[in-house]
């Protein structure tokens, strides 16, 4: 490793612009003649739209146009789609209701747009939106899973009787039932996985810019995957063919999954731009983010674990109801199925697993992938069950886990996944050592003598990242391949541009991706530019989510680099009159091994472009591209341990210590990896202690602002103690696994296990607010 190579904690190149206020986010962009959009949104969770009167609004100052849902339907803009087909256990396809970008007839959640006002200024658009008169006929609403599935429940979509989208199963039901029949002990739990609001700090925004002369659209948008946005907007929404649509995702202020999806506002900005003949900007406010960004989680689960007399796990049976909200968002169907139930084996050797997942419509905001996406829900089920089993069987929770750990690899679970490598015992050892697990009993006794309830909680998580082998996900219903592409351009002066389909919205790609170049070519990272987020610049890409950018995106860059190096070696050999096989690359020099003959990269590059003296038949230039399709998922895993105290008088929880031991394979930039873990842990702890989207029975979101929805703040969280163990991923040449979601996947179970340990009552739902904890203590 050089000072800037793989494994170095290089400070980020992007930070100069971010720390000086020079970032360029969508709302910072101003185009000539730009207008501003304000949506008219439903105040009702379920209602018929009887009429929309735009006449008063049209007379308001500065108003350019008022457009309605019927007009977008009349113009044949396509309905929003869900891109992952799930088949029910009876063989029928999932039942998807129509989702127009603005509702012409029926609204199904509070905040759904019915019309949009386009005006000269944002304030004028807001004023005029107030003057649009919509006549609604309210309908009864089903605001949560239980309300949606009970007999006689209000029906959301005619396509989905009983509001059931699919009833899907995985695993061997008969074998699992048999394991339970012969079990020495059975542990069962009812689990609510609370609904979360992603709340990236930058609200979503979009600018549609139609160029009439070229019949060409440009969309500036807050996206994690601009090429996927272009593909969907083109192929399914009929906005424009791909060659007439450019999508730009500049600096994006966090995503956490919520900016994967293509939203109605982006479609409307493009469509409206053509309608009014001017650029149209929409910038959401936080209230709109709460109401319209896809939410996360929201499961009701019954889970049972079967164990034999020797405390070996023999079976796991899970039944989950998943709330997908009022419409099926882009990847919503895959989250509670292939991203959830396939991880139910956790780190354990479980011979029999059966899971049934029933996804339902409710009159709430659509639910889709949020940091971890299914895997936090799975990890929470497994780790709460293990902890509960240890208490029920009166054995040490660490020992029960260790007894059941998978220790040989590769390991095929009963739920699709084939774990390639890992050392779960090593992570657990590292975490136990870091928190002085052995000394906990003493600390607990001391705390008790001081009137405090102290608890410790473990969570040994595993996740499937590096999403994903295209063939595999295609066979499971995915509508897209999940490879990545890259291009490496060596300029004639020897500087390098890396074009990548990955998108950075906080992950630091502009630094870490350069580190690969520094490692291989010895080029300083200041001489390397990462180009991303623009479909006109980068040929294609699948974007950033599912902790895939290093495992898939960076591997694609490596593949392109290898091609560049191969050609450069041929040129160097020709220039040095040596054999290509004798050329080695060291510190930016192409050297003839065992001699003092060498040529620097810029001279090789210049030779490639002057083309005065290239090997016979060689094309000029030094630029190569590659597509990389992974052969398997990667399997980051680790152990988190939380130690905390509960004040029995108030129910308030205080952290004593939170330690992590993660195995992410090779680390490209440990500083950035640790930052990713910190952020993930904060979101996992937020779910456990603070966050929860609450709807009332009429379908009003009562936690629709930062005044009502508790975001983790600095004094809610501890400093974290991070450790790493390493097994290199054999599935990619860099040996990397992915680190973006681990914290959010593993943390919540550790916290709840610790609180329930402290208070001696296992019945506690997330978020474990002081009120809930107090009631759990005092009944």
């Amino acid at each position: 490793m050089g000072v800037e190579g793989i494994g170095a904690s290089v400070v980020r190149k992007e930070d100069r612009r971010f720390t000086t206020g020079k970032g360029r986010y969508v709302d910072d962009i101003k185009l000539m003649g730009m207008t501003h959009a304000q949506f008219v949104r439903s105040p009702h969770a379920h209602a018929k739209v009887k009429s929309i009167d735009t006449s008063a609004a049209m007379k308001m100052p500065g108003v350019v146009a008022v457009l309605t849902g019927q007009q977008i339907v009349d113009d044949k803009v396509g309905n929003l789609i869900c891109g992952w087909a799930i088949t029910s256990k009876d063989g029928t396809p999932m039942k998807m209701g129509a989702w127009p970008a603005m509702a012409p007839e029926t609204v199904r959640f509070v905040g759904q747009a019915v019309a949009v006002v386009i005006a000269e200024t944002k304030n004028q658009a807001k004023d005029a939106a107030e003057a649009v008169v919509v006549d609604y006929e309210e309908l009864p609403a089903a605001a949560d899973i239980r309300a949606a599935i009970k007999p006689g429940a209000p029906q959301l979509h005619p396509e989905a009787p009983g509001n059931v989208i699919y009833d899907w199963t995985i695993g061997d039901e008969a074998a699992t039932d048999a394991a339970f029949k012969s079990a020495a002990n059975v542990v069962s739990l009812d689990i609510t996985n609370n609904r979360l609001v992603p709340n990236a700090m930058e609200p979503r925004a979009a600018i549609g810019d139609y160029n009439e002369a070229e019949e060409h659209f440009t969309l500036y948008t807050t996206s994690q995957n601009p090429h996927v946005a272009r593909l969907v907007l083109s192929a399914f929404y009929n906005i424009a063919p791909e060659h007439k649509l450019r999508v730009v995702a500049p600096d994006v202020g966090g995503g956490f999954g919520s900016k994967i999806f293509i939203y109605p506002e982006e479609m409307v900005a493009l469509w409206a731009s053509k309608k009014v003949g001017r650029p149209v900007k929409w910038t959401g406010d936080r209230s709109e983010a709460f109401l319209t960004d896809a939410h996360g989680r929201d499961h009701l689960t019954k889970a049972e674990l079967a164990l034999d007399a020797g405390n070996k796990i023999t079976g796991l049976r899970v039944k989950t109801y998943a709330n997908l909200g009022a419409y099926m968002s882009l990847f919503s169907s895959s989250v509670p199925t292939y991203l959830y139930a396939t991880l139910l084996s956790g780190q354990y050797n479980i011979p029999n697993i059966f899971a049934e997942v029933i996804s339902v419509y409710t009159n709430t905001t659509p639910v889709d992938a949020y940091r971890g996406a299914g895997r936090p829900e799975a990890s929470f089920v497994v780790e709460r069950l293990l902890e509960t089993a240890a208490r029920q069987l009166k054995v040490d929770p660490a020992e029960l886990r260790r007894k059941n750990f998978i220790t040989t690899f590769p390991h095929q679970t009963p739920v699709i996944m084939a774990y390639d490598v890992g050392d779960f015992g090593a992570s657990l050892d590292a975490a136990m050592k870091a928190i002085d697990y052995a000394g906990f009993a003493g600390r607990k006794a001391k705390a008790k003598s001081e009137g405090k309830l102290r608890g410790i909680g473990l969570s040994c998580y595993i996740e499937a990242c590096g999403i994903a082998p295209s063939k595999a996900v295609g066979s499971l219903g995915a509508g897209v391949g999940l490879w990545e592409s890259a291009e490496v351009r060596v300029n004639p002066v020897g500087t390098i541009e890396i074009l990548t389909g990955s998108h950075s919205h906080g992950q630091g790609h502009e630094t870490t991706f350069c580190q690969l170049v520094a490692e291989r070519l010895g080029v300083p990272i200041s001489q390397v530019q990462i180009v991303h987020g623009d479909t006109d610049k980068v040929q294609f890409g699948m974007g950033t989510y599912g902790s895939r950018s290093a495992a898939v995106g960076l591997t694609a860059i490596l593949k392109a680099m290898e091609k560049v190096e191969s050609k450069a070696k041929k040129i160097a050999a020709h220039q040095l009159e040596a054999s290509e096989n004798d050329i080695v690359i060291e510190g930016g020099m192409f050297k003839v091994a065992g001699t003092d003959k060498s040529i620097a990269l810029p001279m090789v590059a210049l030779a490639a472009y002057t083309a005065h003296n290239l090997p016979d038949g060689m094309e000029p230039g030094l630029k190569e591209g590659a597509f990389y399709d992974p052969t398997n998922f990667t399997f980051p895993a680790g152990a988190y341990i939380c130690e905390l105290e509960v004040d029995s008088a108030t129910g308030k929880t205080s952290f004593v210590n939170f330690v992590a031991a993660d195995d992410f394979g090779r680390l490209i930039n440990p500083m950035i990896v640790e930052g990713q873990v910190h952020g993930g842990l904060a979101q996992g702890i937020g779910q456990a202690l603070l966050e929860g989207a609450v709807y009332d029975s009429s379908g009003q979101l009562v936690t629709a602002s930062f005044m009502d929805y508790t975001m983790p703040r600095a004094d809610d969280l501890p400093s974290f103690k991070l450790n790493h163990t390493t097994t290199l991923c054999p599935g990619n040449p860099l040996g990397v696994k992915g680190c973006g979601e681990a914290g959010a996947i593993g943390a919540s179970a550790a916290v709840i296990n610790a609180i329930t340990d402290a208070i001696g009552n296992n019945k506690l739902e997330m978020p474990a607010t002081p009120d809930r904890v107090w009631h759990a203590i005092h009944g």
Binding site: G21, D251, G506, G679
Partner: protein, 161 residues
């Protein structure tokens, strides 16, 4: 409409704005100082923090008219040429930012915290004082580290001045 005159980052400026215009919108829309961000609509998140006459203020909670005649400093105004402010440098060196959206407000709040506490800052105080700034990326771990680091750098540089 009113004409508002004020000093921003040491320069006298004036802008014609609607009376309901918030300071943050005057900065972003009229002066093109887009480093100051809007992250919420309830004065909770602190992405919009600037200094008014040396004190950290949420610019989404101040009418532009209220800032007339005052001296406003934004994130664009704290570096000296190429030399980052010690707080900016500390955020970079300690990986105190990821997506960068909350960062300008964080930095402006953090400078104010250090000014108020001088060398007496500890982790608990920093965490308490950052109550009005929300970050979704970092879990605050490295932000707290950055502020404590900068407190040392700022006290040293203040002593040197």
């Amino acid at each position: 409409m009113s004409t508002i005159k004020l000093t921003v980052n040491g320069k006298a400026v004036s802008a014609d704005v609607e009376d309901r215009t918030l300071l943050v919108h005057l900065l972003r829309e009229n002066l093109n100082l887009t480093g100051t961000h809007v992250g919420c609509d309830t004065s909770q998140c602190g992405a919009c923090v600037v200094h008014i006459d040396g004190k950290a203020v949420k610019s989404c909670t101040v009418l532009a008219g209220q800032a007339a005649g005052s001296n406003v400093t934004t994130i664009e105004g704290i570096a000296k040429g190429d030399q980052l402010h010690p707080m900016q440098a500390a955020f970079r060196d300690n990986h105190g930012l990821q997506c960068g959206y909350c960062t300008p407000g964080m930095i402006m709040s953090a400078i104010d915290i250090v000014h108020r506490y001088g060398g007496k800052l500890d982790e608990a105080t920093v965490r308490h004082e950052l109550e009005g700034n929300i970050c979704r990326c970092t879990g605050y771990h490295n932000i707290v580290k950055s502020v404590l680091d900068a407190a040392g750098r700022m006290n040293v540089s203040q002593a040197a001045e």
